[in-house]
């Protein structure tokens, strides 16, 4: 047993304190210690993108970071998109995924949403090529990506209309 480290990580605005082994992956911390299971773990070696979360506002893969490294930092997970967890108040990005059929089994979706959220903040009116590059780090085995691209376009329109 290695030493435990006391850490505080703010997730979706709430600070969480915990003691962790340094080898605990950030993805496992989010799911098993905090119980926020919206973040999914696919490949666990940084390829599939399912575990993508925002780390200080930037999308990163939480399965190839240690929880101890996030000490003092801010995370946002998919739960942060809909703070009241109600269907009526889905984030426009989530609503777009539902309307455009941007998901089937849904396993990869949380990772896509977090990746695209950061992307659309930087590029409010992306073309298809830019969208495909932006999502190139996320794997989806159901949709063939076309409906995800459609969902991103729809989300860009919705988010532009709202702002």
């Amino acid at each position: 047993m290695t030493d435990l480290f006391s850490i505080t990580i703010t997730i979706n605005g709430t600070p969480y304190e915990s003691e962790v082994e340094p080898r605990m992956l950030l993805s496992d911390f989010i799911r098993h210690e905090i119980g926020l299971t919206g973040t999914h773990v696919g490949c666990e070696h940084g390829v599939c993108g399912a575990c993508t979360v925002l780390f200080d506002g930037q999308p990163v893969r939480s399965c190839i970071m240690f929880a101890v490294q996030a000490n003092g930092h801010e995370l946002m997970t998919v739960e942060g998109l809909t703070p009241d967890a109600s269907e009526e108040n889905l984030h426009p990005l989530q609503a777009s995924f539902r309307e455009a059929h941007g998901l089937q089994c849904g396993f990869c979706t949380a990772g896509f949403l977090m990746t695209i959220l950061a992307f659309l903040e930087e590029n409010t009116n992306p073309n298809e090529q830019e969208i495909r590059e932006a999502i190139s780090g996320n794997l989806c085995r159901c949709t063939g990506y076309q409906h995800i691209v459609d969902a991103v376009k729809l989300a860009a329109e919705k988010m532009a209309a709202e702002s």
């Binding site: 992956l25 990746t115 590059e133 780090g137």
Partner: protein
Amino acid sequence: MKPPPFQYFAPTTIDEALALIAEHGYDAKVLAGGQSLIPTMNFRLAQPGVLVDLNNIPELAYISLDDNGGVSIGAMTRQREVERSEIIAERVPLVHETMPFIAHPQIRNRGTFGGSLAHADPAAELPAVATALNAQFRVRSQSGERWIPANDFFVDLFATALEPEEVLVEVVLPEMLPRSGYAFEEVARRHGDYALVGAAATVTLDQSNRCEQVRLIYFSVGNGPVEAHQAEAMLKGQELTSEAIQAAAETAASTDIDPPGDIHASIAYRRHLAKVLAKRVLEKATTRAISGD
């Protein structure tokens, strides 16, 4: 899978980090962005006893102008920062052009400039680009510091000239000379994947538009960056016509490299790509050198 247990240190100064590395010697592994190291630990291909995390050392992350007109990049500067840096875009546009090809945005947000170089993956873009630019690597240990030119830094597959107690702390990219051009190209199955073959070129022309200097560096075709020496020799002193470039590209692909064949690409296909990419980067670099872009 999950990584095996290790002792973890998060120093806040370079000196502290160097002392930890000296103390733990071969057991210690430096953790930079972790985008290659942590996956290998998750697979348990790597089981370092001690991790020295450099992520809390602010003095290792910067991009600044060098006294000689070049650019100095702290080893822990995130790849995303390099990609977005105006100084890089203006002074070392070859690096600016290359950054979007490195993995995916999520990886570049975390991955570091120095980490990619010190990892020395033969399929990585930055070692080839640093070699094409004659970058200088500043490495430190408790007993002092030394400079290693890119040509000598990459030794073999995932192997560099770094000694176990040394850490790469800075990379200096010299300013492009006047009448110089550059280009970067790669072919990958999917944007962000490791390239099947990639190439970087720099060209400097003399007053009569003949080739004064040329570097053609491949990656993903050997154990590290591979310089196409024979092709370069064919071009030096010559006018860079499309015929001359075509001939050099054929020599580069057939003689200068010895690419591997695997399920992703046969040897013949990699040679074909190497020829096409050499032609493209040399032509683009020449055009840019002439137009002064």
